[in-house]
């Protein structure tokens, strides 16, 4: 404990001038959940199982993955649906999920992305009788059908195991690192303990465990000129104003100094778009969401001046994002746990 006082306060992962607003948005993104209704395909229920109870409801963290839910689903099936003999036959490596509309769900996508992707796909289908809101963003359970055998291997990546999920997750983190800095030094510089630890944070859904490691690789949003003041707080809990230390290690990691923000764009029925997203534009102004959208999807987001009706909307973590949000800030505060900002574009009704 230094003479200046404690280095941790209010659950912030780091006392090095992480603004409270940054932590707030990171926590909000982390704690987002979506409702799932999981039903075993009735054709695959054995004859002697209890058909009345075959639906399992779960409020799943957006940052988690379907394979991580499998142990819980398995316990439910063993307890409630299958008898012991049938339960012994369950082989999780053959499980696969499908949406009500027959879309194959990707087990290596975060659950929040699966949910949002489903929402925007629905935006181009004929409206159902329950769509009352303008953007049809009601939070209804995503209905999944769980199949227990014969995965369509020609269309689905093999191995829905937690291990392969972890490798896919680590791969995404490394790619995000590369996109930001042109190298993966921050990721490869992590000790093995930290590399395992960040995935444990996902598995256990623990914000502090995740950010203990993530704070070493995710850019900061502190004002670009701040140095690294010795950790200190005054009794009211505010960090000291930035010192005049010219060393500025946080500057090196500042969100506005990346060469590109890791962003992917999802359309209702198209391939995923990924392009270079500099934090600032040529004129020095910050790269905003509206600029990004009107550059990449000018027909859906016509550049100003435009006074017609809204044609499409952009959603992240299930919420509409203000057009003047800065891409660099989004990359530091509202990325997914895998480091990527996922912008889901739906068609306005």
């Amino acid at each position: 404990m230094s003479a200046y006082g404690t280095t941790r306060h209010h659950g912030q992962p780091s006392a090095n001038s992480t603004p409270a607003s940054t932590t707030l948005f990171r926590r909000l993104s982390w704690e987002g959940t979506v409702p799932l209704e999981i039903r075993v395909d009735s054709k695959e229920l054995p004859a002697n199982s209890d058909r009345g109870l075959e639906c399992y409801y779960i409020q799943a963290p957006r940052v988690s993955y379907l394979p991580l839910l499998m142990p819980e689903i398995r316990r439910f099936l063993m307890d409630v649906v299958f008898d012991e003999a049938a339960g012994k036959m369950l082989k999780e490596e053959e499980w696969w999920f499908e949406s009500e509309e027959g879309t194959l769900l990707k087990w290596h996508w975060p659950i929040g992305l699966i949910y949002d992707n489903h929402t925007i796909s629905a935006s181009i289908r004929p409206p159902s009788q329950t769509s009352t809101s303008h953007h049809n963003l009601q939070v209804t359970p995503l209905k999944l059908i769980l199949h227990l055998a014969s995965p369509p291997t020609e269309k689905l990546l093999l191995s829905p195991s937690a291990e392969s999920c972890k490798q896919a997750f680590m791969g995404q983190l490394k790619e995000a690192d590369f996109v930001r800095w042109g190298n993966t030094k921050r990721m490869t510089g992590l000790r093995k303990q930290d590399q395992d630890g960040i995935w444990e944070g996902i598995k256990e859904h623990n914000f502090d465990d995740y950010w203990r490691v993530a704070s070493k690789i995710v850019p900061t949003t502190a004002p670009a000129r701040s140095g690294s003041p010795p950790p200190s707080t005054n009794p009211s809990g505010h960090t000291r104003p930035p010192s005049v230390d010219p060393q500025s290690a946080p500057d090196r990691d500042n969100a506005y100094n990346v060469r590109s923000v890791p962003v992917r764009l999802y359309l209702p029925d198209g391939p995923v778009m990924q392009d270079v997203v500099p934090p600032t534009l040529e004129d020095g102004s910050p790269h905003t969401l509206v600029h990004y959208l009107s550059t990449h999807l000018p027909l859906l987001f016509p550049p100003t001046p435009y006074s017609g009706p809204e044609l499409a909307y952009a959603m992240m973590h299930g919420v509409l994002v203000p057009p003047d949000a800065e891409m660099a800030w989004l990359g530091a505060c509202m990325a997914g746990a895998d480091g990527w900002v996922s912008v889901c574009v739906g068609i306005a009704r």
């Binding site: 020609e154 392969s164 790619e175």
Partner: protein, 163 residues
């Protein structure tokens, strides 16, 4: 870039199949795949795709048996696609082949960036530096320097038998 070729098992069971190789690097012609009726015939779809993250080409492929189902990784390493020494010192799981000294798996699963189909691919991050080395050497040694893509294919063929 896409082509379909036929592959063999490295130590094939005695089978008399006479396999032709469809070597065109042009647009896919599904009708002329060279796989045969023999149980050991394998079809390999190969793609060269630009990696959006690493901004270099990456080599994606998938291999199917005659029944149409994709090969598992343990079988892929036994076909003639990969050069024998590629897997030295590597650790294989059902979903990747990795070398302890490398940041990314050597060979892992991924979705084709535009088709969305499951494929295997060689991680592209080390590619750029390998290509640069080859280009540098080619400028010094050979009268006609290699183009970037030629150098890239050279790097690729240290791991893959390009036939």
């Amino acid at each position: 870039m896409h082509r379909i070729i036929a592959l063999n098992w490295r130590h094939p069971a005695p089978v008399d199949a006479c396999l032709e190789i469809d070597d065109s690097l042009d647009v896919v012609d599904d009708g002329t795949t060279a796989s045969h009726e023999s149980p050991d015939s394998l079809t390999c779809h190969q793609y060269v795709v630009l990696s959006a993250t690493f901004r270099v080409p990456a080599f994606y492929f998938s291999i199917h048996g005659s029944s149409g189902s994709p090969l598992q990784l343990s079988d892929i390493v036994q076909t003639t696609l990969l050069r024998e020494d590629v897997c030295e010192g590597t650790v294989a799981t059902t979903f990747a082949v990795s070398h302890p000294s490398m940041n990314f798996p050597l060979l892992s699963q991924g979705e084709h960036p535009t088709l969305g189909t499951p494929c295997w691919y060689f991680h592209p991050c080390e590619t750029a530096s390998a290509v640069q080395e080859i280009l540098k050497e080619s400028k010094e040694n050979i009268r006609k320097p290699l183009s970037w893509m030629e150098a890239w294919f050279t790097v690729l063929s240290t791991a893959v038998d390009m036939q």
